[in-house]
């Protein structure tokens, strides 16, 4: 692949043509269906997408039209994106687990004319809000099950659209000419895709990304991580999230590697193992979940295996990261590590599906240093990146041998970063967005006069040039006594404990910091099983006195750590409670990317927040919950409130003296 051949390729349809020419028989996509991996080469994908585009053209899809893509990661939905872009239309991926109401907002706001969806579930959601969607004309679906008796006047299987296009391809040379013209007409400045933000703060916004920007950004990172056509990724991240569109879709088209679609979202781990992914991405919670499951299963193993496991994890902890970073390590330690690789790390990586992984990324939230080191120590090249939808993902990323848990790395190639006076991180990047759809005033708010994009995150550069993010800029506040209060910083410290799944910290303008805690049902449930604690539900387990004792221990430990940090020592957690229900995106408590919506939670659980500050030991709460089908019910409970152990602030010098 020479630079000249790809220089003029400024849109993804052109890259698709390029790949079909340069590597026609290489696998472009796989999908596990009925237990067997099916494969499509670049030439096949190219041909199918052309037919699909012809079919859509016959339905009247035109340049600039919006077309929604809703479902899990399936080849036909990726082809829908490609076919839309081929015609110059703008795909708008929507979170598949969004309830009908949220979906209606996005579809309406984006003015979509067509929707390509996975199955009956999504069709039902669209039909249920169809009266609010004036612009929508046709819905195309992949999986026909359950849809046979539906009124098909505005409904059609994707297969049929492709078949129609196949026929057109043979019968109508004029249409084919128009198709080729549409690809040639595509310019780098066109809107390539519109991704809706997860809506951490209020309604989600449609981020318009340009074709040329997307291509350039992808080219940079493909070179940065040396991705080639031999790489394999497993596509399990939501289609609507920038991470999937970037790491899988954009990078696959630019590097020519294979996208593997799992059989179902539940089988992703097993499927990853089967295809032998080489490039992986997962948010911290996935890595955490995997580790928790391993540790629990090791507890059930025989004594010999268990001891071997723990011994070699110790060896890995001591030497693994040094070996990975290419530092000098004594020969004996190297040999012992090699033995560990054969006995423990190798099989472990195999179970996790990480045997062939060359590069693994994590992002989205802070990752516990111990968790991070664990994966690196067993030889997985795990790195962090920092990015956002508006940047088309990458702002910073760590290079292979300079990785640390508390930072997110230096600026990615061709990205400029500066820190504003108030600590907010600003950047300019190749993939930088064009603007928010239909919201120019919000676009203007997000940009600085000199063309930088505001991330909304507060951070600073460490001495080695890596960026460190502390919290959302607007969330960093002060306690009543003037001490710095960075809620996310405290929440993350607590979340590093496997028993704790979610935390919400309060304290802005208050006397002290206090927190809501969600226990992790897998970890705490396992503890309960081991200790003969019986429970009937999450609610019952959460309210258990012994569970409270465990959590109190974790809170005290965090307070001890905070006491050692001069900036944070006054922001120790004074009181806490364990919530009676798991925070859930369906109830609006989390965003679709699983971030806590602090303000909303404070309102919803107002009586509990009051109890945290008025000194009471118990509080009653009744909340409305939304089931997956949109029906509502309510949960009420009496929640215990507990005081936490706090520590005297210790200056670093003083602690040495003591």
């Amino acid at each position: 692949m020479t630079a000249d051949a790809t220089a003029g390729l400024d849109t993804f349809p052109k890259w698709l043509e390029h790949n079909a020419k340069v590597r026609p028989s290489r696998p472009a996509m796989r999908h596990k269906d009925l237990g067997i991996w099916k494969e499509w080469s670049w030439a096949e994908v190219h041909r199918t997408v052309r037919s699909y585009a012809l079919g859509l053209m016959a339905h009247g899809l035109q340049r600039g039209d919006k077309i929604a893509i809703i479902g899990t990661n399936r080849p036909k939905l990726y082809w829908s994106i490609m076919a839309a872009q081929t015609l110059g239309a703008v795909p708008v991926p929507v979170y598949a687990d969004a309830v009908a109401d949220e979906m209606a907002y996005v579809l309406d706001h984006a003015e979509v004319r067509f929707a390509c969806v996975e199955d009956q579930e999504q069709v039902d959601k669209i039909l249920s809000v169809a009266d609010r969607l004036a612009a929508i004309q046709m819905v195309f679906y992949d999986e026909p099950r359950g849809l046979r008796d539906y009124d098909h006047s505005r409904l059609q299987p994707i297969d049929e659209v492709i078949a129609q296009g196949d026929a057109t391809m043979l019968a109508d040379p004029d249409a084919v000419r128009r198709l080729d013209q549409a690809i040639a007409d595509g310019k780098g400045a066109d809107v390539s895709v519109m991704l809706y933000t997860s809506g951490t703060t209020g309604r989600s916004k449609g981020v318009m990304l340009s074709a040329g920007g997307c291509v350039n950004a992808a080219k940079d990172t493909v070179a940065f991580d040396r991705l080639t056509e031999d790489d394999q990724v497993i596509a399990y991240l939501p289609l609507a999230w920038v991470g999937d569109h970037y790491l899988n879709y954009a990078q696959a088209l630019v590097a020519g590697f294979t996208i593997n679609c799992p059989e179902s979202p539940d089988t992703a781990v097993e499927d990853r193992r089967e295809v032998g992914t080489t490039f992986a991405f997962a948010p911290p919670r996935v890595y955490e979940g995997m580790l928790t499951r391993i540790m629990i299963r090791m507890e059930d193993a025989g004594a010999l295996k268990r001891n071997m496991f723990h011994y070699y994890l110790g060896v890995a902890k001591k030497w693994g990261e040094k070996i990975l970073d290419g530092k000098s390590v004594p020969l004996l330690a190297r040999l012992n590590y090699a033995l560990g690789e054969a006995l423990v790390y190798g099989p472990l990586k195999n179970v996790l599906g990480f045997s062939s992984v060359r590069i693994a990324y994590t992002a989205g939230e802070a990752m516990g240093p111990e968790l991070f080191s664990f994966y690196r120590s067993i030889g997985i090249n795990l790195k962090q990146l920092y990015g956002q939808t508006e940047a088309f993902l990458y702002v910073t990323s760590q290079t292979d041998h300079a990785v640390r848990a508390d930072c997110v790395g230096p600026a990615t190639p061709n990205v400029e970063i500066k820190i504003a006076d108030d600590g907010e991180v600003l950047y300019k990047s190749p993939g930088q967005f064009i603007g928010y759809f239909k919201e120019p005033e919000k676009t203007a708010e997000t940009m600085t006069p000199d063309g930088y994009v505001k991330t909304g995150d507060a951070g600073f550069f460490e001495k080695d040039g890596q960026l460190r993010i502390i919290d959302r800029a607007k969330d960093v506040g002060k306690l009543r006594n003037g001490a710095l209060f960075a809620p996310k910083y405290i929440e993350n410290k607590l979340k590093f404990f496997p028993n704790i799944r979610e935390v919400v910290a309060f304290g802005q303008g208050e006397e002290h910091v206090s927190v809501f805690i969600n226990i992790d049902l897998t970890a705490v449930g396992n503890w309960a099983e081991r200790n003969n604690v019986s429970y009937g539900s999450y609610q019952e387990l959460a309210n258990n006195r012994q569970v409270y004792e465990i959590i109190a221990g974790h809170v005290a430990e965090v307070n001890r750590q905070l006491a050692e940090e001069p900036m944070m020592a006054k922001a120790q957690v004074h009181r806490f409670l364990v919530l009676h229900k798991e925070l859930d995106a369906d109830d609006g408590e989390l965003t679709r990317t699983q971030k806590v919506r602090r303000g909303f939670i404070a309102e919803r659980y107002a009586p509990l927040v009051t109890a945290l500050y008025d000194g009471s030991t118990e509080a009653d709460i009744s909340t409305e919950v939304t089931f997956e089908d949109g029906r509502k019910g309510s949960i009420s409970a009496r929640v215990r409130v507990m005081d936490a152990k706090t520590f005297e602030p210790v200056a670093p010098a003083a602690s040495q003296a003591a």
Binding site: L34, G35, R145, G146, E263, D266, T267, F627, D629
Partner: protein, 264 residues
Amino acid sequence: MKPEKKIEPGEQLLSVENVTLRFGGVKAITDVSFDIRKGEVRAIIGPNGAGKTSMLNVINGFYHPQEGRITYRGETRAKMRPHVAATQGIARTFQNVALFKGMSTLDNIMVGRTLKMHKSFFWQLFRHGPAMDEEIEHRKFVEEIIDFLEIEHIRKVPVGKLPYGLQKRVELGRALAMEPELLLLDEPMAGMNLEEKEDMCRFILDTKEQYGTTIALIEHDMGVVMDLSDRVVVLEYGIKIADGTPEEVKSNQKVIDAYLGVAH
């Protein structure tokens, strides 16, 4: 061995006429008659001990009634063994899950294909040649069921490790593997939470639509029965007290009395 005769949707598939079943002196079923039409979902309901499961056992040949006749696909029979019922296209699930706990989901469903395997014992023994080809054919069918019931993620998990709701689904899968013409479900949703019940309802309706299977089910959840079934027969103390559409049954005074109880 699919029976030759084709029965159109809406025609009578099975009829039970004046059936009486006794265990010693106890009358489990007394003079009950009803029919099941091709392509419908037929519910059998009634209070505990009304004889619902006995009725199902009569239909699939496990119990032999002392009086009455059963006509299936136009053939009247007095006695029939369960395996004959199975070869003729009647499959069932059980009130208490009856799976092979130590075997995987896949193997359990493969068991449902046993009656359709015809290659010689010799080849089967070595799992080679024609037997292997045949197994691949059957595996394909089983994979379609796995996809249909959305249980890909537990394909290789021993059934004993699965939660109850999933076990019920595997059991349904095994029954479907027989490609039944008539599917008997004994309390398919017992012990399930709301979400599992909704899933199960969807699978039952999809089964009817996709495979054209006729379904007779026993169920206690009235909401489920009213949503799912085309016609309902109500038993009390082994006697049929009502038969008709869900609406008719719901407003029948005898049924209301049976469920709510009346002063005698």
